[in-house]
């Protein structure tokens, strides 16, 4: 079973890679009519990926949150699910796949650099709160990644509209949502991300209290999750109260995803702490 799940993981990674190439190709060469191939590529990849995760879950007896291979696989899965659902709801944002799918592909590829060995679940991870904690962390990352994709589209469309002369590319940009709609969509996905981050921190605090006897201890992971929460809180505050919208907020969203990615994947490489030692060891 261990081999099968890895073969499916490789198949999913390949399909995500192909999907990324098609999204980028469609974006660069303005071939929107071919974008459905990218969509179906991602969907097929998701199917293989889901079966791979399910098989590994059955084999290991625990959810995909014990070692980095599993953690990254799960993050990628949620990113694809959220992006495909967002596309269903707002079909005009499908071009955002040129930013979302390559990131997902890289996460999968990065996951392959880690050991695939099935690791026993540490007893400290035996908690339903942990499951809620990691699910909402993934939902937050997925939502914000979609916001980043829309922010990138926003900036490119805005730049194009600011150019006076008309080109053949304009029809491609015309098919994107209007700037106002993209601005609202970014806002909406960041708001969803903040909501998920809040639930992630809440469930994490309850789990920490059960495991370590305190709901907050300024551990580097906890502190960075708070930094991220404040970051997106600030983003919404600027949008709602300081008149930041459009291009400025789009850049803010693009840069702040670096902080989010660091707080979710990078901390273990820089700091040692209660959260990170078992993942990076």
């Amino acid at each position: 079973m261990g081999q099968i799940d890895h073969i499916l993981y490789l198949a999913a990674t390949t399909l995500y890679g192909l999907s990324s190439i098609i999204y980028i190709y469609c974006f660069v060469f303005r071939k929107e009519e071919r974008i459905s191939y990218a969509y179906y590529g991602a969907l097929a990849g998701l199917l293989f990926h889901s079966v791979s995760i399910a098989l590994r879950w059955i084999e290991s007896g625990h959810g995909p949150y014990v070692n980095m291979y599993e953690v990254l696989s799960k993050y990628a899965w949620f990113c694809v699910v959220i992006f495909l659902l967002a596309q269903q709801k707002y079909p005009k944002i499908k071009s955002a796949g040129f930013a979302v799918m390559p990131v997902t592909f890289l996460i999968m590829g990065f996951g392959m650099t880690y050991s695939r060995d099935v690791v026993m679940e540490p007893t400290s991870l035996h908690s339903y709160w942990l499951i809620a904690h990691v699910v909402f962390a993934n939902l937050a990352f997925g939502s914000i990644l979609v916001a980043v994709g829309i922010a990138a589209l926003y900036i490119l469309k805005d730049r194009r509209l600011n150019k006076k002369e008309k080109t053949d590319d304009d029809s491609f940009y015309d098919r994107l949502p209007t700037l106002n709609v993209m601005d609202d969509l970014m806002y909406r996905f960041v708001a969803s991300g903040l909501l998920f981050l809040t639930i992630m921190i809440t469930t994490g605090a309850i789990w920490a209290n059960q495991t370590w006897g305190r709901y907050w201890g300024w551990d580097p992971t906890e502190t960075w999750s708070l930094v991220t929460w404040f970051m997106y809180g600030l983003c919404l505050h600027l949008r709602m109260n300081a008149g930041w919208s459009g291009r400025r907020i789009a850049w803010f969203i693009i840069f702040s995803v670096i902080i989010l990615a660091f707080s979710m994947f990078g901390i273990g490489y820089v700091y040692s702490g209660l959260h990170t030692d078992y993942l990076t060891s």
Partner: protein, 469 residues
Amino acid sequence: MYQNLKKKISIFFQSRKLAIVLITLIILLSIIGTHIPQESQLKPDVYNTWKTNHPVEAQIYETLGLTYLFSSAIFYGTVLLLFINTIFCTKNMLGNALRRLIGHFQKKEFISRLENSTVIQTSKEKNEIISLITSEMRTLGYKVSQEKNFIRAEKNKLGILGTSIFHLCILFIILSALYGSIGRMEGDMRLTEGQTLSEDHGNYMYINEGPLFFDNHQKFDITLEKFYPDYYDESNTQRGAAGKLSLKIDGEVAATDIVYSNHLMTYGGYTFLGNVYGMAPLLILRNEDGSVISGSYVTASDNDDSKRYVAMFDIGDTGLEGGLMVYMTANLTSGNIAEGDVEQTPVLFLKIFDRGTEIFDGKLGLNDAVQIGDKYLVFSDVKYWSNFYVVKDDGTLLVYAGFGLITLSLTIMFFIIPKRLWVEIVSDENARRTEIYIGGRAERFSSLYEEEYCSLIDHIKERLSNGTN
């Protein structure tokens, strides 16, 4: 002058820019706090090693208070300013929100200025138009009010309060955390299997009491009934180390439970968590005639995860010092292996020192003795000991409630979007023509609201032209 100062202070703290500055400052301080070693988070030896290796940085950081940043004046000061700022902003926000809860009818001049506004001309009668528009709005879930030739429709009114509730929740969480921390007590209590200790200040190995705890110990008895180094629960799930605790008041059992990772025991606002554990050989010093001089369980710790437990100890009042290492040839107790199934032999390696000079080095089995002058040191028993982390924090549940409310308020803020529609019907009886001014607004995501608004107008137009229901 006093009024002027009060006004200036009020303007300063109402500033939304101040909130942005303070949030940015908290973000920066938090990042600094994760980069500079924090004394409260590290074991003393780890912190001291860092200090020894980085003497200059350590001195600078300590002088600036950055090694205890999250409890420093600068951090607390920033949080306090944000707290005050949030109070002022919330007061304003709440006032505005409450005013906005009361809906008003609007005239065509106002309606025409809205981003989503339409004028429809029809030859239908006013009453028919009103009936048609109100029924269409009700179909979309709007609550409709009508007066003369004005219509007002609104839905998701609760969303107006979302932002204010969110800010109130932030204030509530800060207050709850503060209340919890100043009345908090946390400590480590070490119990050997079968031992009972009273919940009292002196029985903790380490204790930290908040300024408002007032030594308010409940003094109930805590007994470690049994310790399991590798516990399997009723569903045969491996839980790791576990200890069965029982709490007694006046000899009556008040609570009993098995404490293991992610399964703490709570009683009367106290929580009990197991953390480190070890083995405790019972060493008894006897006279030649067998009478007991002194004896105690020596708590030995596994410092290198080797399952070998070591300790240094004083041998009664002989002035001698002992060093021991004890281990079991099999697990002493286990949930899924009956004790009788596996041979379990404790082995004790003992060294005895007289003012630093080694006078004995040997191995003892259970009930073996070593002669020291005219006395005997007997290895009589071995048990497990465990440290229990005991916490009393009355703010925890309040903080959880705050987190729950903040989640709810964010949902209200961003996903229950208040939407309003206003209509004025202007009839020109001479021309036998009626103009309908319709306008609508969503409090957030206004461009996403356009679609819903356009669909509503299309429906209204269609029904006005068809004249059907």
